[in-house]
Structures are given as structure tokens and as C-alpha cells.
């Protein structure tokens, strides 16, 4: 369920990048404050473990498909949410760079979808609550299963929202939800079972590892309010970032409103209130944006100069001719560069 650059708009891509960057900065601060530097090699090695473990598959009986270890949950259980979030982000960075899985601008979306929910929502609010400080087999299974399912459902739903607001795909909301949620229910069940089994394996073999993780100071103290506050601040900063794209938006008014809200925020003292109202404006504004994107032909003047200029046979032929010619020139340049290289 990696989001791809091809499916997102710059506004969504930048928004999610800034949000994820904020979460990374916040997690780094937390890791630096609470953890000894022992944790940093451990994080790297566990990231590599997730990577290697994901390459091993088991066959799911009677389905012909295969499953593998997810990542977010097991990392949270072993490292605590902040460090786990950083490791999850790293895994996604490497996947994006080396396998083109997702994309660079879509990294923000992917880190949020696959890192934020398991580490900051599901782990502290579900797994910790179910398992508590005295792990037992039944509690670990219940906790992992529910946590993995809920985490993946939230992540999959974010994929739907991001795609919808970007307006590149025309998949209707209902259909997309009906496609994504059941698939990820199945994936979630598998991930939950695998996570539980691995945790129980570690607990049987070396209980001190889990005990150390459970009783370390860092894990108990995740404060959701702080994380949410950070998110709100990130969204406000986006006021500036998004207004950069104002030129691509047909309706300047909303952009201007949004920009003004951002400026007011800097001068005002009650910034929490202001940022909340900016968030609200954003919430009200994004669906609108998605809706407009869905009906571009209702406003032909909006994109006339950039996209598909006119619908008549004459231009279509010249479009094909021009396109072919451009491609030819580019290939020629590439060919000569390569020739020079070889010679």
C-alpha cells in the first residue's frame, strides 16, 4: 500500500512531507533526550532486521498466498514508539530510493500511513492498554491482533483520503474504500498473528528483552497531546508551503484566505486558537479542492493553458506530431551523450 508520486498532488505531497518531517524531528528529540546512544546502533540493526525479515515469506494455508512480517508493531514493542517511528521511516526511505517503492515526495504520505498509526496511535492506545506491564500469552495475541488490524485499517484509509484529495485517480471514494479496507483487514490479521507469534517467541526465549522494553521509562510516557500539537503546528506551517502552489489552483480566493490565516497566525498571541482555526479552514478547504479536481471540465478556463488546449482534430494531429518530434530530439541527445561516453 505504498503511495506513489504518480497518484498525489503537490499540495498533498508537501503537506504530508512536512507533517512526517515534523514527526521525525520530534521523535529525534525524544530519542536524544531519553535514550542512551546504545539505542542508535540498535535502531539501525533492527531496521535491517525488518528489511531482511520481510524477504522471508511463509505460505498461508489454503489460500495460495504468502505473508510476511509487517514492521511498525514489532518495532514499537521492542523500541518504544519514537525510536520505532524513526526506524519505520528509514525502512521506507530505503525502499523508496532503491526499489522506487512509493516515491520521494510520496515518502511523507508513506511514513505517515505506515509509521504514525502503528507507533503513535495503535501501540500506546491499544497494545499497551491490552498487554499492560505483565505480558501473558493471551494478552499478547489479543493486543497484537487488534493493534495490527486497526493500524492497517487507519493506514489504508489514509491512502484513500490522500488519493482522493489529490484528484489524480478517479476511483470514487466508496469503491476505493471497499477495495482497500477488506484487503487490509486480511493483511492486518496476518500481521497481527505474525507479530504476536514473534513476540511470544522472544518472550519464551529471552523474557528479559521484553521486560526491559516494557519497563524502560521511555515507553510509558508517550503523550498524544504533544504529538497532536506538533501535527497542528505542522499543518499551520503548511499555510506558507501550500500557498506556493497557488498558481496551479483555479480559485485564488480560497488560497488567499488560507494565506491570510497563516499571516495572522504569526502576529497573534493566542496562536493555539489561531492554528486550530487554520486547521479547520484547511479541513473545510481540502474536500473542496478534491471536489474541484474531480470536475475539471466544469471550469475549462482553469487549466486551458497547460493541459489539453482544445478538442478539435487539427490540434490533435499537431499535438501528436509535436510530441513525437520532442521525444525524437530527446532520444537523439541521449544517444549522443552515450556515444561520447563510449568513445
Amino acid at each position: 500500500m505504498h503511495m506513489a508520486d504518480a497518484l498525489i498532488s503537490p499540495a498533498i505531497g508537501t503537506t504530508m512531507c512536512v507533517v512526517s518531517a515534523g514527526l521525525i524531528a520530534y521523535s529525534c528529540k525524544k530519542v536524544r533526550e531519553t535514550a542512551d546512544d546504545r539505542k542508535i546502533p540498535l535502531m539501525g540493526v533492527l531496521g535491517a532486521f525488518i528489511f531482511a525479515a520481510q524477504m522471508i515469506n511463509f505460505s498461508i494455508p489454503a489460500t495460495g498466498s504468502s505473508g510476511h512480517l509487517g514492521g511498525g508493531m514489532i518495532l514499537s514493542i521492542l523500541l518504544g514508539p519514537y525510536a520505532a517511528f524513526l526506524v519505520m521511516a528509514s525502512v521506507l526511505v530505503v525502499q523508496a530510493l532503491f526499489f522506487g517503492d512509493g516515491g520521494l515526495l510520496a515518502l511523507g504520505c508513506n511514513i505517515f500511513n505506515l509509521g504514525f498509526f502503528p507507533c503513535f496511535i495503535v501501540y500506546p492506545l491499544i497494545y499497551k492498554k491490552v498487554v499492560g506491564n505483565e505480558p501473558a500469552k493471551g494478552k499478547i495475541i489479543t493486543g497484537s491482533l487488534i493493534a495490527a488490524i486497526v493500524g492497517l485499517q487507519l493506514g489504508a484509509f489514509m491512502v484513500v483520503l490522500e488519493t482522493l484529495f489529490s484528484g489524480i485517480s478517479e476511483l470514487p471514494f466508496g469503491v476505493f474504500v471497499l477495495l482497500m479496507q477488506p484487503i487490509h483487514l486480511a493483511i492486518g490479521v496476518v500481521e497481527g498473528i505474525v507479530t504476536a507469534a514473534v513476540v511470544i517467541f522472544v518472550w519464551n526465549a529471552r523474557p528479559e528483552i521484553l521486560n526491559a522494553a516494557t519497563h524502560s521509562k521511555q515507553i510509558g510516557q508517550i503523550s498524544i497531546t504533544k504529538v497532536l500539537l506538533g501535527l497542528i503546528i505542522a499543518v499551520v506551517i503548511l499555510g506558507g508551503a501550500l500557498s506556493w502552489f497557488a498558481s496551479t489552483n483555479p480559485d485564488g480566493l480560497e488560497w488567499a484566505m488560507f494565506k491570510t490565516a497563516g499571516v495572522e497566525e504569526l502576529e497573534s498571541e493566542g496562536w493555539i486558537h489561531e492554528s486550530l482555526s487554520a486547521l479547520q479552514k484547511k479541513m473545510a478547504f481540502l474536500p473542496d479542492y478534491g471536489f474541484k479536481q474531480n470536475e475539471p471540465r466544469a471550469e475549462p478556463e482553469a487549466s486551458s493553458e497547460l493541459s489539453w488546449p482544445a478538442i478539435e482534430p487539427g490540434t490533435s494531429v499537431s499535438g501528436i506530431v509535436g510530441g513525437g518530434l520532442t521525444l525524437f530530439v530527446i532520444l537523439l541527445i541521449g544517444f549522443f551523450l552515450r556515444r561520447r561516453k563510449v568513445a
Binding site: I24, D37, T315, I320, L327, K341
Partner: protein, 269 residues
């Protein structure tokens, strides 16, 4: 060759490409990172019915691949390998949007097909840009660029550790998988119990390894930072690289060049 080895070879191969030596390889990693991001933003900022205006943008991957001496066929294969999600989401466009907006001769083409091909072109352009970045720069240099661009240090340091130990742990996973396969008469499928046992042991070994690494590095004076011998400096070549491409992207973004070219050609004939 099994799955593990294939993925591993992929990373290795990308790493070898990055150790090449060309003008492009020698550029400051920051310059390449920023140019890549500019390229991606420019490409995805077009509206959904764009196809023609994307064509000039192919100059960026093609020039970099040619001048950097990268294997084009290999990169293309990698791009196709990851395409299913974009294709699956995009393939619904022709189903949902059947309004004919374009004619070639007497054949009508619906908006859905155009936006579907638009998604495919976006995908090809953005993914190739990301792969080219790593193939010309290498992971360590990208990390160095991230530090210099202000990404917090703990994140970058563990990213470097992570990258270093992918090779070690993938080797380990591969050995375990091979041992299992040999003991079960080369059976391909793995049952759940075996799977958990392999993963669990891999995890325990990783934890032990992390502890040993930490102690070894500690005794050599590790203080939480990783220092690089190779320093990076932005020179005029790097600035020219960024500025040149940026101007080109803006020109391509503002003008539909193939369309204009086509108009001129049609007028001549």
C-alpha cells in the same frame, strides 16, 4: 535464484553504480537531491489530463542515464517491477470517466484513458528520477546531504547503521532460508511454525549483534556521530546543475512545447 538473493543483488548493484565516476557522480549530493525533488514537484503539479506536456521532461532521466553511464534497461525493469499499485489504482479511470474528450481521426478517446496514461507517465518519470538519484549518488552521500540540509542527526546516524547492516542481516536471513530449504527437500513453501522460528532467531541474533556492535564502537570512541572523510562542498558546477535544470523545468511547466512545435510544423506543411 530465490527472492532474498534477488533483492539483495539489487541493492548491491545500485551501490556499484553509485561508485562510478562521472561528472554527474562527482556533483554535490545536495545538488542532485534538490534537483530530483524539483523535478518530481514539477511533474506531479500538472493536471490529470496531461500527457503531451510530459514528453519534454523525459530529457532529465535520459540525459542523466546517458551522461552518467547508467544501465537504462535495468532501471526500466526495476520501474516496471514496482508499478502494480499505480496501475491498479489508475486502471479505474477509464472505467469511471467515459466522456470522449479527444479524437484521433474518427476514434474517440475518453478522458479516463488519457488520465490513465497520464498516471503511467507520471509514474515512469518520478520513479526513474528517484532511482537515478541513488544510482548516481550512493546512499551514504545522500545521508550526508540530509545531514547538511538539517535532518536531525540521530535519524541520519541510524539510517547509516541500517544501510550498513542490511547487507549483513540479509546474508544471515539467506543462510537460514537456505538451511531450511535443504532440510526440507527444497520445498518452496514454509509453514507458520518454521517461519516464526526463523524470524524469531533472526531477531535474537540481530539484538545480540546490535549489542556487540555498540560495545565495539564504544571502545573505539563512538560518541553518537558518524564522521565522513569525504567532505562535500557546493561549487559553481553544482549550482549550475541545479539552476540549469530548474530553469528548464519551469520552461517545460509553463509551455506545452510539443504542442507548439507541432503547430509550427503543421503550418509549414
Amino acid at each position: 535464484m530465490n527472492n532474498i538473493t534477488k533483492n539483495y543483488m539489487d541493492i548491491r548493484y545500485m551501490d556499484i553504480m553509485a561508485s562510478g565516476d562521472s561528472l554527474l557522480h562527482r556533483l554535490d549530493p545536495r545538488a542532485k537531491l534538490i534537483t530530483t525533488l524539483l523535478f518530481i514537484v514539477a511533474v506531479i503539479s500538472f493536471d490529470r489530463y496531461t500527457i503531451l506536456a510530459f514528453i519534454p521532461f523525459f530529457i532529465y532521466p535520459i540525459v542523466l542515464i546517458s551522461a552518467g553511464g547508467l544501465p537504462a534497461g535495468y532501471l526500466l525493469k526495476k520501474i516496471l517491477w514496482v508499478s502494480p499499485f499505480a496501475v491498479l489504482v489508475g486502471i479505474f479511470n477509464p472505467v469511471m470517466d467515459r466522456e470522449i474528450i479527444y479524437h484521433i481521426g474518427s476514434i474517440g478517446i475518453s478522458g479516463g484513458w488519457i488520465s490513465f496514461f497520464s498516471i503511467l507517465m507520471r509514474f515512469l518519470l518520478t520513479v526513474s528520477a528517484a532511482l537515478i538519484l541513488i544510482a548516481l549518488t550512493g546512499f551514504n552521500a545522500v545521508c550526508q546531504a540530509l545531514t547538511r540540509l538539517g535532518v536531525p542527526r540521530p535519524f541520519v546516524v541510524q539510517l547509516l547503521f541500517f544501510y550498513r547492516y542490511i547487507f549483513v542481516l540479509v546474508d544471515e536471513a539467506e543462510r537460514m532460508e537456505m538451511a531450511r530449504s535443504l532440510r526440507s527437500f527444497n520445498s518452496r513453501s514454509m509453514d507458520f511454525r518454521t517461519f516464526i522460528s526463523i524470524i524469531g532467531h533472526l531477531l535474537l541474533r540481530s539484538l545480540d549483534r546490535a549489542e556487540r556492535i555498540y560495545l565495539a564502537m564504544r571502545s573505539r570512541g563512538f560518541d553518537g556521530n558518524i564522521r565522513m572523510i569525504k567532505t562535500i562542498k557546493l561549487g559553481w558546477k553544482d549550482l549550475t546543475f541545479v539552476a540549469g535544470w530548474a530553469i528548464l523545468f519551469i520552461v517545460f511547466r509553463m509551455n506545452n512545447i510539443p504542442m507548439r512545435l507541432g503547430d509550427i510544423v503543421m503550418e509549414v506543411f
